[in-house]
Subunit: 369 residues, 2 copies
Amino acid sequence: MPELRYLILADGDFGPMTSKTANSLIRYRADRVVAVLDRSQAGRTAQEVLGFGGGIPVVGSMREGLALGPTAVLIGIAPMGGRLPAEWRGWLLEALDAGCELWSGLHTFLADDPALAEAARRTGRAIHDLRRPPANIPVASGLAKQVDPFVVLTVGTDCNVGKMTAQLQLTGGLNARGLRTRFVATGQTGIMIEGWGTAVDAVVADFLAGAAEQLVLQGAKDADVVLVEGQGSINHPGYSGVTLGLLHGSCPDALILCHQPTREFIGDYREASWLRLPPLGEYVRLYEQIGSAVHPTRVIGICLNTYDLSEADARAAGERAAAETGLPATDPVRFDPAPLLDAIVHARDAYRHARAPRGSRAAAPAARG
Amino acid sequence: MPELRYLILADGDFGPMTSKTANSLIRYRADRVVAVLDRSQAGRTAQEVLGFGGGIPVVGSMREGLALGPTAVLIGIAPMGGRLPAEWRGWLLEALDAGCELWSGLHTFLADDPALAEAARRTGRAIHDLRRPPANIPVASGLAKQVDPFVVLTVGTDCNVGKMTAQLQLTGGLNARGLRTRFVATGQTGIMIEGWGTAVDAVVADFLAGAAEQLVLQGAKDADVVLVEGQGSINHPGYSGVTLGLLHGSCPDALILCHQPTREFIGDYREASWLRLPPLGEYVRLYEQIGSAVHPTRVIGICLNTYDLSEADARAAGERAAAETGLPATDPVRFDPAPLLDAIVHARDAYRHARAPRGSRAAAPAARG
């Protein structure tokens, strides 16, 4: 089966901080992206808009996009609430009629739309709703505590600060060091990139932690380290429940706190700004206390997203974050990720040492602080 | 329209701590309950099983129950995960054929069961799935911060410790004192009793806080005090996400911590016991810190469920909880609820004083500590 060639829909919102799904696809699977549809930026390239992505063109209509021969149309933005903008239905029908599959991470399932479902039947094309949860998720019961690999979860000071991107970078780095490291996708974009996972924010609330638990159990097979993709933020008025369910369901042994230094207020870029971000130390304290209420965990590093800072300012932000928290801090996408990779390796060694049988532990010097 | 007469299904699980929905119906709407079906306790009365409920009989078969002339069969237990025990389908078909409506708070919607749906169509009887969430719930955006009434949320040291029962008692007490007090139901049992509400644990996780926000906005109309029914516990491995989404979505001005003094481990009675309850003071700290990350709040009282203690032990437990936390503590169902009612009234006065315009505030002595 030939690999899919994607036309990404990101109308009105293609940009470094606004089209999270599109950008991740372009960063990690650029060879499969034929174009981005955004009427407001037609004629530019991904490189010009994002700073990466090379010559991938931005087109101004579905017709132009389809002329480039995609085999799938992928929804590349995650609008507030995750629902389908009404105007897009016509474009998606056009895409099905042109023989494309549809890929979507919206909360509104495309396959539940009668017109789209009928067109998919008629054209024999598949609709992939990545946020549709699996059936029969159990209530979590703490099983993730018991897995053998070292489990690391990214947590954030807000939504959309780079939690998934950080994990993907670190996964590559740890595998390069010889640690079998598995990225566990908990959101639609991660699922598109990894090919498996569950969008935990689309699960009925009572089963959210259970979904996270199942993902960790699956990711733990044949792995030394499991890196779980975080969601939301513990103080986000809309999404904190998702954050905590994921934290308690996945039972991470360590946390990496993700932050965008220029972010001042909680909430997506398009919301009113009414909740000021507390200092990083306050986040460390909150996450460690609430996380450890179910399974002992601690923050072992700060992962910065400095895309909107000069290199000098980005380095200064890293030093400030490290001084503030006493933890290694860097932007692992922009700079050398070694400080965070080292932090994970050291925390894992200490954890394994602490868990080792008494005899073997007595033979080695104490490690866990 | 005549009032419904309920036959309650609680097979194998009718008891003081196991059949939460059945018990609340019997406590608050006993006149509408014709019988309880539990084969393991047939021949007893509700009074004998629960210690309240008078002569409501426990029957051993659907046939016996239907002979007593119910107009509705209501699912009276909330099994782990909320799904329908397979054996019950036959009984529910029998009930529909006998002309009964069905009322259910299970996560598995009865109306989605083809056989039950078909029988309901054939018999013209309604199926009420109380956990089916309303359509188009928004993502929460902090609107509940702005309502005029004083908002109180019950929080718990575990599931099933009496959060709803406490609120219902306090609602009555506050109304008797002349404060227009609205109980806001967030679970299926509360909805059955109040006639409106949303089962927030059945909402897709991203919209859970939004559902809580909508409920508070609705409950705030023409009310002086809004008492929001709490769910789960902040350190429950399965349900903590629901607890935090409700806490951040409802923006309570004050919290009442509910606790069963004999409970040692987190988790429903039927689960393995692997997480020991921390001290009350630790819960107070966790709830205040994590709640105040979105809207300032504090715990103002401890509400005990002492059903399984002697009167002397129950009073001693109240004194111990008060000494441990420095807060008023009582079992408002068993003893005089005045300490908790006073706590709410005083906290509301202090809150209104603090929010009053500067001129009027300067005229009175400072109140909020």
